[in-house]
Point group: C2
Chain length 216, copies 2
């Protein structure tokens, strides 16, 4: 059974559907680490309840003052553009994945799950050091030793593109209008930030209709 | 420069003095993860201010509901006795060290420190999976990959006994009466819980006078 780190974004919603369809979803944990796009957590709750997966949120907003001047948790503006642009480095929250996975492993131990699953995918970019495969492999080796019994790290989308994830989600019946990607957290998706740009392209490449309302 | 995980306990106070004496103490981070012995944090602030090391506390009390039924963060009673006793397993907070070190690494990145130091020592016991050397080695490999530049994991006491740490502390001029070990967090050290028992033995084995006031 798996404890899923579940943001309410497109990728992790498809992961939630996948594990629920396999009967392996022990719980979904949404972590608010002080990000501006807290809106995604509303969708997380909606989807977990729809699938009957025990859902819990954890507010780590108290971490924000520790994490320096990144644009997701501080007053620095979220940049527009592609992930390849140098200015996107400001969206890096230091060591975010390691913090979230460590806490998720603790929760997995507490509820008797033997694995932690997250939606890292092949489209994740090298500007995020903690999205690299070498990092995830080292983290998996650490989680295997963190408790009396090993905790496994599941990354079933690691060789998927975001378009592959959209395709799988469509097969599993995901309502993509109930997922959130935009870093800016407005009334609707902005349509211009890095993650909105990527979201649009994934639907187009997958040949799946995009139900998202974009402002631009 | 090192960011020190600093509880205000005996071991990490000696570590703080050691790194400060070497001019390598970039900051001290005390993490309250919902433990009952929050009293140690008062001593942490005292010692950091005395040494002029920037001090920060982080309240992770919000984690307590996630961490199940362990005696340090829940209503389960703290057991008396030696660490070797089976009942001491209830003092295991799931994955505590990995969570704390992940957050400390994030803080190190934010302040430009290139290492995280903690006071794991040879006397730490196998009932704590996240005190084992194999675990720490795996974690070090993970921290080396978590950011653009590697974050080092410093464990200078890993081959020390607790008595060795007391000896070093005496040489560095540590005021041991300003450190806290007892898991029960009463007015004075209880003198009977596992960590009090160990503290008494360390002073005796080191041949250093123990200034601690014990209730039993």
């Amino acid at each position: 059974m798996a404890l899923i780190i579940y943001s309410g974004g497109l990728d992790s919603t498809v992961l939630l559907y996948k594990l629920a369809s396999e009967g392996r979803a022990a719980g979904a944990l949404s972590i608010n680490y002080g990000q501006k796009h807290v809106k995604e957590l509303e969708f997380a709750r909606f989807n977990a309840e729809k699938l009957g997966v025990p859902f819990q949120t954890l507010d780590l907003g108290c971490l924000a003052p520790l994490l320096g001047d990144n644009s997701l948790t501080s007053s620095t503006a979220v940049p527009d553009g592609d992930y390849d642009d140098e200015n996107m480095k400001s969206t890096v929250v230091p060591n975010r994945n390691m913090i979230m996975l460590s806490i998720a492993a603790a929760r997995a131990i507490a509820i008797g799950a033997d694995s932690v699953a997250y939606a890292a995918h092949g489209g994740d970019h090298a500007i995020y050091p903690d999205c690299r495969n070498e990092f995830a492999d080292a983290l998996a080796a650490t989680l295997a030793l963190c408790h009396y019994e090993p905790i496994k790290l599941e990354r079933p989308f690691v060789n998927f593109t975001k378009a592959d994830i959209v395709k799988l989600g469509a097969e599993l019946g995901v309502d993509f209008s109930k997922t959130w990607s935009c870093y800016k957290g407005g009334e609707a998706h902005c349509g211009t930030c890095g993650t909105c740009t990527e979201r649009k392209m994934a639907f187009r490449d997958a040949g799946v209709e995009d139900p998202t309302e974009y402002m631009g």
